[in-house]
Structures are given as C-alpha cells and as structure tokens.
C-alpha cells in the first residue's frame, strides 16, 4: 500500500511548486528566523566551520592564532555553531521534500554536450570559487543576498547585483556544460 504522503514513483516526480509561492514561503521562513533567532538564514558559514574543523582534526591547532578563524574554536568546537545546525537542517529539508515529491535520484546533472567527469571537475572548481567568494563577501546567496537584501542593506544588494553580473558575464564560456 502506498502512503498518501509520498508521490508514486510510477507516475513520475511531482512538478516544482510555483516560483512565487515558493518565494513567499521562503520569505516567511526567513522572517521566522529573524523573529526566533534574531538573525537571517545562512549556508556558507556552517560549511566553512565544518571545513575548518576537518583541517583542525588533521593539523590540530592550525587556526590557533588565525586573525579570522581563531574565534571559531574559542571554548568549543566550531561544529556547535548554530549555522552548522542550520546547514544540517537544509540538507534534511531538501531530502524530505525530494522524497515526498519522488525526486530522489542519484545523478550528475549536466547538459547533453559534456561528459560526467567534465561536469564533476567544473562542479569542484565552481565550488572552490563559491567557497572562497562567500568568505570574502561575508556570506552567500542565503546570508548576504537574501537575508541582507530583506534587511534593506545596500552592501547585500551590491553583492546580489555582482553575483548576477559575474554569472551572466561568463555564462557563454560554460554554455557546453548546460545547454544543448
């Protein structure tokens, strides 16, 4: 017997929700975060702390005197930072939604003109740039663009504009990765 909650795989995955409703829902989640936590949403900060924890495990004390990251290790593990919990939640929430919609699939998404390995190499390099750039900008599309944007901060709007400018400027060079 199938559960009423979950989409039957035989009829294919559910369509995505309307982008405006999805956006309003996200905006309400962001509001909830402001009201309950006193801060917005964030994804890159938790990732950076997890990465720094791994480095500290390999080379203990490597960030002891680091002017930027030493405070992450003050007193306790960086993994106890609230952004690490939030990041774990994002992963779980994505898993839950994909499972309900029948969209769970082990896959490498790519356009028809690029191989699997080429796509994974670009995913890795893009990730490196995004990880680096998020720390430089003090946040990513969640913490800086979305949360700061809703707080009406010009710096966050400038970040958002720069993300789109940078993306559109180089998109022609990556056409083969995505487009037919």
């Amino acid at each position: 017997m199938k559960t009423p909650l979950r989409r039957d795989a035989a009829i294919g995955p559910e369509p995505h929700w309307n982008p405006y409703w999805s956006g309003i829902g996200l905006g309400l989640v962001l509001l909830l975060s402001f009201v309950v936590l006193g801060t917005g949403l964030g994804a890159s900060g938790g990732l950076a702390r997890a990465a720094a924890t791994v480095c500290d495990g390999i080379a203990p004390g490597c960030f002891e005197d680091h002017p930027y990251a030493a405070s992450w290790f003050d007193g306790s593990s960086p993994l106890l930072h609230y952004l690490v919990s939030m990041g774990a939640g994002v992963l779980l929430g994505g898993l839950l939604s994909a499972w309900i919609a029948g969209r769970m699939r082990v896959r490498v998404e790519r356009g028809p003109r690029i191989g699997r390995n080429g796509r994974l190499l670009l995913a890795l390099c893009g990730g490196v740039l995004v990880g680096f750039a998020s720390r430089m900008a003090g946040g990513c599309t969640s913490g800086q663009a979305l949360s700061g944007g809703a707080l009406l901060l010009p710096g966050s709007w400038a970040f958002t504009a720069a993300v789109f400018a940078g993306g559109f400027a180089v998109a022609p060079f990556f056409r083969k990765e995505w487009e037919a």
Binding site: H16, W17, P19, Y20, S22, G23, G27, L28, V29, L32, S33, F34, L37, L41, A43, A48, Y68, L80, Y82, S85, M86, G89, V90, L91, L92, G93, E109, R110, G111, L120, A123, G126, G127, V128, L129, G131, A133, S134, M136, A137, C140, T141, S142, L146, G148, A150, L152, L153, P154, G155, A158, F159, T160, A162, V163, G166, F174, E177, W178, E179
Partner: protein, 197 residues
C-alpha cells in the same frame, strides 16, 4: 537592546531551532526545484527565471514582513544581526561568486539541497566549497587590507536615502514585480528545438 527576546544561539535550544528553520529552508528550496543544478544554471541562459522569481519574492515578503513587525513593535531591526557594508570585498566576492555559480551550478544552500536529493554534482561542489573556504583562511594575510576597503559599517537604504523603511520595503515589492514581468516579457528565450536529453 533586549536580545533576550531571541533564542540564545549558543544554547541547545538555539541550535535545535536553527536545525528546524534549516529544515524548512531546505524544504522550500527543494519545492521550488532548487536541488537541480540545471534548473539553477538555466537563468544564465535565459531559459527559466525561477531563481529570480523565488529569490526576489522571498526578499520582498521578508522585507515587508520585517517592516510590519517593526511597525507593530514586535521586533526592532537594529537588534537583528546585520552584515556590514564593505564595498570592495562584497562586490569582488559577488563577481567571483557569480562565476563559481554558473561554473558549479549551485550556491552553498542549494548544493546542500541537491545533495539531500541525491546529486553527486552537489556533493562534489560542496567538497570544492569547503576547500575554497579553507583557501580563503589560508590567503587571509594577503587579503586582510582588502577586506576592510570601503567599510561603511552597518548601512541601510532607509538611512542612506533618508526614506521611511515602509517606502523602501514597498519599493522592493514594486521592483521585484517589475523585474518578474520584464524578465518573462523581454529576456525569456523560448526552448530551442533541440530538447535536452
């Protein structure tokens, strides 16, 4: 200041609430289809403006909500965490981020959602992003001066333009709706005959 209104982020309750808010965040991102790198990258080829629509309706909803809550005396936005406006790193970081976004097909939050739904490309992206974050820490001595170039402190549009918050929040709604309309009207490219495999 009465930060007592908010959960202590260093407490177990704060971490638990962060986890739950994260679950809601990830759930909504996945609902919109943002666990898919192809869907996210499609905005840069003008095939699908969902990224613009979701992001700006979220921003407008929260901006109007914050203004309403503040008008009702429920919150004080000055007590919320607000990142400083530091022009040089924010703009350079944004440009670099945009390049990485189209190259990798994700941002950090959507990559977590992509991984949650089985994306191997998302996993590899996250490994890269972790390495990039550590790379930034390693490069800190070279970047230290750059990171404070153009520091304006906590700057807001209402302060900068000397306008009431409500006017700016409503302007966000008008700008967002106009952008949605303009994107579909003038920018959207019809699907090409060659359908993706």
């Amino acid at each position: 200041m009465s930060p007592a209104n908010f959960l202590d982020l260093e407490s177990a309750a704060g971490r638990g609430a962060s986890l739950l808010i994260g679950v809601l965040f990830g759930f909504w991102l996945e609902r919109a289809g943002f666990g898919s790198s192809r869907k996210l990258a499609a905005i840069f080829y003008r095939r699908d403006f969902a990224v613009l629509k979701v992001m700006f309706s979220a921003m407008a909803t929260a901006a109007v909500g914050l203004w309403l809550f503040e008008s009702l005396g429920l919150i004080t936005t000055a007590e919320l965490f607000r990142p400083r406006t530091i022009w040089a790193p924010v703009i350079a970081g944004g440009l670099l981020f945009g390049v990485g976004f189209v190259m990798g097909g994700f941002c950090p939050g959507t990559a977590l959602v992509g991984l949650g739904s089985g994306g191997i490309d998302a996993l590899v992206f996250l490994v890269g992003a972790a390495a990039g974050s550590v790379g930034f820490l390693a490069a800190w001595p070279l970047l230290e001066n750059w990171m404070t170039l153009g520091d304006r402190g906590v700057l807001t549009w209402p302060d900068l333009l000397n306008l009431p918050t409500g006017v700016v929040a409503l302007a966000v709604v008008v700008i967002a709706v106009s952008a949605f309309w303009a994107a579909d009207r003038w920018l959207l490219r019809p699907e090409s005959g060659r359908s993706p495999s």
